[in-house]
């Protein structure tokens, strides 16, 4: 029998209310070999991102004379989902995620400061439990800040679904697989400018606004958390290496 996504008591299957985000956990500066790295957990979705650059483009033909090129590699670990998948193959869905990550961060990074260079973003999904794109965006955002690449603002993302007559924030895998329409929104929290909007399945136009609003709230909450983390991490960093 189909389980209800939100019980009449107002709880979801994992005990959250519809408007609540999952627990999240951040870490940055994990690797020395790259310029910036971040690890983000949102619920059981785990994502590891490394950023290199700005640097000499590996494929020089791709470089642009007026700005830096953002290249994104998106990979999903074979052990990330319930069933182990075979060796990594290029997957159309993954290419699409990579493309939308690229578009998102080309909008946020001040690429014109680094003409003819490349910013390489590698995203590795370690574990999937829903809202993969949103988690990846948040992780990339942190990794870029960690790399010190100038950005106009954070990019924070959040997903929301629409079930029955109300939106539900930050879907986990169970909720995602219930087949409800899912919206992923990425925005620049300061200006609330939406940089990415991805929709899975059809959603009636009337319902888009409340869903998007909830997403926006989620993004802002996420911003608070990320901001707090960056502030504390930077403070720690300045303590360890007093500024030169």
């Amino acid at each position: 029998m189909r389980r209800e996504i939100v019980s009449p008591e107002g709880f979801r299957q994992d005990g959250r209310r519809p408007e609540e985000l999952r627990r999240s956990h951040f870490r940055t500066s994990l690797f020395q070999q790259v310029d910036g790295s971040a690890y983000v957990e949102q619920g059981n979705t785990q994502c590891l991102v490394t950023v290199s650059g700005p640097r000499e483009p590996q494929m020089r033909s791709k470089s642009l004379p007026d700005r830096a090129v953002v290249t994104v590699e998106y990979a999903v670990a074979p052990f990330s989902a319930g069933e182990r998948k075979g060796p990594l193959r290029t997957n159309r869905a993954h290419t699409e995620v990579a493309a939308s990550l690229q578009a998102t961060f080309e909008a946020a990074i001040m690429t014109t400061l680094f003409p003819r260079s490349e910013i390489m973003i590698c995203v590795q999904m370690v574990q999937l439990d829903g809202s993969a794109l949103a988690t990846a965006i948040n992780a990339v955002s942190l990794a870029i800040i960690d790399a010190g690449i100038p950005v106009t603002d954070y990019v924070t993302a959040c997903s929301a679904g629409y079930i029955g007559s109300d939106p539900v924030l930050d879907l986990n895998y169970l909720e995602e697989s219930a087949g409800m329409p899912q919206l992923t929104l990425a925005l620049l929290p300061r200006t609330r400018k939406i940089v990415t909007m991805a929709m899975e399945q059809k959603l009636h136009l009337d319902h888009l606004e409340p869903t998007a609003e909830m997403c926006e709230e989620g993004c802002l909450q996420m911003y608070q958390q990320m901001n707090a983390y960056i502030a504390s991490a930077s403070k720690l960093a300045t303590l360890i290496t007093p500024s030169a």
């Binding site: 389980r3 019980s7 299957q13 994992d14 005990g15 959250r16 399945q201 059809k202």
Partner: protein
């Protein structure tokens, strides 16, 4: 607020998979008591502020039932005297897994604010959450089972409640029938009661105690006095059911198969189900008590096919329960078993007799196990046990009777009788009561059940109607407040708002001469029509359907309610609406001379009925007249009336005739039903006073043609827009072998019947005319209808497009669009069409598929309820006036014939007396019962064969033993006379 608590759950499903789920624990979950001030305020908090303490306890206590109490004794819980329950989330989840139906009933109770139920999400509460036992806890002596864990969670929650509420002088008590659980609770200082103890503490608990059934009995009470129970428990009666594991293994290896059992309405010991025999899907017969092995109608069973030597003839016989009516005692069993053997011998003989014609052999099987019970509450009456005295002396009037056993006779003839134990037998005799089934032990001949409630006296029209609705699972409670809140707040003063016209997709058609044509007294007018000549010589015709989707928005409480009711149910004396009356008969109803919203389907047609163009749009209309069929017919006939409406109607009629001609040419089959209509007397009693046949006029066909046209065009449109999710109605071609018997019978009368296409069938039906018997044609049509498959709702994506074919109407695609007030399918189609026009909207194929399944079931239930209602009123009609009428034989069985009485539309079995039957022969070849002339008793030779016109005597008798109180129409053969015994 969020407790970041993650735990692991490992499940093994096929291959090993580790499933990790998050589980957030919170502190903001309210206890639900209105008296509590420390909890986060919660809108659902509904437990009373103060409670009178139960006898023996110091403080008022909220009741916390465990899962088994809810599952087995929901009837008790549903009793209005029980309130202030805390339903734990753990319990609710367990219940959902056990029985979704029970779960929904509990949900309904929770939603009722007067009952003061509250759902406490204990699994999400930081202080009441109980961790799962570690899966690898091999060191502990016995690993805790999930059930034990749930019990622990329930006890923990009760403990928390008591601690939490102590300051408020309130408490909570665990109610469970599990002795071990109670003991554990008491050890932990948690108050716990058995359901029986709890119920006994309630004032006026006697009826409730009965509802507990045997399960709630005090185990110490001596049960040996209970002769009935003991007698039939002496020996094992039934073969053991196979264990679930061996059933699964059997199905995997193909030894067993699985199917849903359908008990024959004529013979409660004969059932059919679908199975794969030699890779073909065929009907399989299971007959006899032993082979059925306690399976009941609608159960999903595992069964095993018998070898071909044991296959039986399809000719069955009527066997009702009275044949099987042994004295209630042990010694009857042996006798009855012999009976069963006799049956088998007969069947074997049949098989031998008809071995030459293999097609008449039906595969047989036996039930090896029951996968899923389809137990529902049954309506019926109690039979007084032998020696029971109805009247007791006044002195004992107020003494509670001891528990007594009695047999309960369900109204549904397919159900076996049920053993019920009650303390109030005296009061229940002669009443229609509801009984819930508890169990059917292997050593008990009959299932056991417990009393639930009284509906009313036997024969009382209201009680019988209620029983009828219950039997067919039709929701007939008044609409609840949440549903009514969805109605426009202006109520009946609601008028068409100019704003809705301004929407670009709504067209103002108020200037058109639109009229509606309906049966007299119709208040829910779904449809209206118009036609007008166009300058280019073509005709514009429009069908306007009430725009219900404007009022009923998706996923509102009203929509959910309607989607559960699915259809309005028409009984002889009342109508059970799908939508609240305000909508059905007023705001949506396209009444004359008021502005109403409609969904219009407008065609441009040539006078020959060829559609040039179609358009769909929402509209607002103002019907100028509501005609009855008769009034419309008058305007068709009287060409001297020249007002716009009359010419309009004639124009429509002209088009309808052209359309009809095209349809018939395409092969549409005209079917017939023997339906009749009761004329009720106007007094309060509403007893039927007369019966009339439903009459068909040109104006009926006019409306019908246009509705068909609209449905077909809408179906095409939505199928194009949503090839995956469109809701369609299909009517599969009947399997040709279904017609075999009919073709043979009609062939004997000299008429060929070709059934390969609907066109040929239609033509052959038209050719069947007996000058001396004009009813013969209709009779054949009625029987043809019986051979047809049922039309069904389907979701377009789940069927190959070739499966959209509607056989009866001979159209490639069809749907229901024209009656949104009384059918939910039409409402869905309205939404789809609207979405198709606007090119937006979301339609999930899976959801539509599920919906179609529900619609089909509800639809069938509604039809069956209507028929049962007609039967009920037929019985009331004949109660005091037996009659002798002409009848036609529709089917010949071994010991009976099924006849149709055209005048009253009654279809029933004429059971031939056993004594006479002994002198009759059953002619396998012609399927007829024949008997030779017998000089001794001065009887002529006679024969009962298909289509034969006979005379029968109609009277109402109590069927079965007196106590069964089943009013039954009994037919006895008058002419031709049977041989005397």
């Amino acid at each position: 607020m969020l407790h970041n608590h993650v735990f692991l759950r490992k499940t093994k499903k096929g291959s090993v998979a580790k499933i990790v789920k998050e589980h957030y624990l919170r502190t903001d979950i309210a206890c639900g008591s209105k008296a509590c001030t420390t909890c986060t305020p919660c809108k659902r908090a509904n437990l009373a502020e103060a409670l009178p303490p139960f006898p023996g306890s110091q403080v008022g206590e909220y009741i916390v039932p465990d899962t088994n109490v809810l599952f087995h004794h929901l009837d008790v819980i549903e009793h209005p005297s029980i309130s202030n329950l805390v339903i734990l989330q753990t319990v609710l989840e367990e219940l959902r897994h056990r029985s979704f139906q029970c779960f929904q009933r509990v949900r309904r109770l929770i939603d009722d604010p007067d009952r003061h139920f509250y759902v406490f999400s204990n699994d999400f509460h930081a202080e009441t959450y109980v961790p799962e036992p570690a899966a690898t806890a091999s060191t502990t002596a016995v690993a805790e089972s999930p059930n034990d864990r749930n019990d622990r969670a329930i006890r923990r929650a009760v403990q928390w409640y008591n601690a939490h509420l102590a300051a408020l002088h309130l408490g909570a008590v665990l109610v469970t029938n599990d002795v071990a659980n109670r003991q554990l609770a008491v050890n932990d200082g948690i108050p716990a009661l058995s359901l029986r103890d709890f119920v006994q503490k309630l004032p006026g608990s006697v009826p409730l105690l009965d509802m507990l059934g045997a399960a709630g009995d005090d185990p110490t009470a001596p049960s040996s006095k209970d002769a009935v129970a003991d007698a039939s428990r002496l020996a094992t009666v039934y073969p053991e059911h196979a264990a679930p594991a061996s059933i699964q293994a059997g199905i995997a290896t193909g030894v067993y198969q699985m199917g849903t059992l359908h008990i024959s309405p004529h013979n409660f010991q004969e059932a059919t189900l679908l199975a794969d025999v030699n890779k073909q899907r065929v009907e399989v017969l299971i007959s006899g008590r032993m082979d059925l092995n306690r399976a009941m109608d609608g159960d999903v069973v595992a069964f095993q096919l018998f070898p071909k030597e044991q296959w039986k003839s399809i000719v069955s016989k009527v066997q009702e329960q009275e044949d099987d009516d042994e004295a209630v005692g042990s010694d009857a069993d042996a006798v009855d078993d012999d009976d069963d053997d006799d049956d088998d011998d007969d069947a074997a003989a049949d098989a031998n007799a008809s071995a030459s014609s293999e097609s008449l052999l039906m595969p047989t099987a036996r039930v090896v196990g029951i996968v899923k019970r389809n137990w529902r509450p049954l309506c019926g009456t109690l039979e007084a046990p032998p020696g029971f005295k109805q009247h007791v002396d006044a002195a004992r009037e107020h003494v509670i009777d001891p528990i007594q056993s009695a047999f309960f006779w369900p109204i549904d003839k397919r159900m076996p009788k049920v053993r019920v134990r009650t303390r109030q037998l005296r009061h229940l005799l002669g009443q229609r009561i509801v009984v819930a089934l508890d169990a059917w032990p292997q050593n008990s001949r009959y299932p056991t059940g417990h009393f639930v409630r009284v509906l009313g006296a036997v024969g009382d029209r209201a009680a019988e109607s209620e029983a009828l609705l219950l039997e067919h699972d039709i929701a007939h409670a008044p609409f609840n407040a949440r549903v009514l809140a969805c109605l426009p707040h202006q109520g009946d003063r609601w008028t068409v708002d100019v704003d809705t016209i301004d929407k670009p997709d709504r067209v103002d058609l108020r200037h058109l001469a639109i009229c509606s044509i309906d049966p007299p007294g119709c208040t829910d007018i779904d449809d209206a029509l118009h036609a007008r000549p166009l300058p280019n010589g073509n005709i514009e015709a429009g069908v306007h359907i009430a725009d219900v989707s404007y009022f009923v928005k998706p996923d509102t409480p009203m929509d959910i309610e309607a989607s559960q009711r699915c259809t309005s149910v028409y009984l002889v004396d009342k109508r059970i609406d799908m939508l609240p009356t305000l909508l059905g008969t007023n705001l949506c109803s396209l009444r004359s001379n008021v502005d109403r919203l409609a969904f219009s389907c407008v065609w441009e047609m040539t006078p020959a009925g060829e559609v040039v163009s179609t358009r769909f749009h929402k509209s607002m209309i103002r019907s100028q007249a509501s005609f009855t069929y008769d009034e419309a017919q008058a305007r068709i006939n009287d060409t001297s009336m020249n007002d716009t409406l009359s010419t309009n109607v004639r124009l429509l009629n002209q088009l309808a005739k052209a359309l009809r001609k095209r349809r018939i040419a395409a092969g549409a089959v005209t079917l017939a039903s023997p339906e009749v209509k009761f004329r009720l007397d106007d007094k309060e009693q509403q007893d039927p006073v007369d019966v009339e046949m439903k009459e068909l006029m040109e104006s009926n066909q006019l409306v019908e043609e246009f509705m068909l046209l609209a449905n077909i065009h809408v179906a095409r449109k939505i199928q194009q827009a949503f090839p995956d999710a469109a809701m369609l109605r299909c009517h599969p071609a009947p399997p040709s072998n279904r017609f075999d018997a009919l073709i043979r019978a009609v062939g004997q009368r000299g008429f060929p019947m070709v059934v390969d296409t609907s066109k040929h069938l239609s033509d052959s039906l038209d050719a069947i005319q007996l000058p001396e018997d004009p009813y013969f044609n209709k009779l054949v049509r009625i029987m043809t209808t019986r051979c047809m498959q049922q039309a069904a709702y389907i979701c377009a994506g789940s069927v190959n497009p070739s499966g959209y074919w509607h056989y009866g109407l001979a159209t490639d695609i069809y749907t229901h669009f024209t009656s949104p007030i009384r059918r939910y399918a039409d409402l869905i189609v309205h939404r789809m069409l609207h979405a198709a026009i606007l090119r937006d909207g979301q339609l999930a194929r899976d959801r539509m598929k599920r919906l179609a399944d529900v619609l089909n079931v509800r639809h069938r239930n509604a039809q069956m309820a209507s028929r049962a209602s007609i039967v009920l009123f037929t019985n009331l009609f004949f109660r005091n006036k037996p009659a002798t009428e002409e009848a036609y034989i529709l089917r010949v069985l071994k010991n009976a014939v099924i006849v149709l009485i055209p005048k009253y539309g009654i279809e029933n079995a004429v059971v031939l007396p056993k004594a006479s039957l002994a002198k009759c022969d059953f002619d396998e070849k012609d399927i007829a019962i024949t008997w030779p002339a017998d000089a001794a008793s001065q009887t002529r030779a006679g024969k009962l064969a298909l289509f034969q016109k006979i005379k029968v005597h109609i009277e109402i008798v109590h069927q079965g033993p007196e106590a069964a109180q089943r009013l039954q129409l009994q037919l006895t053969l008058v002419d031709p006379p049977l041989p005397a015994a």
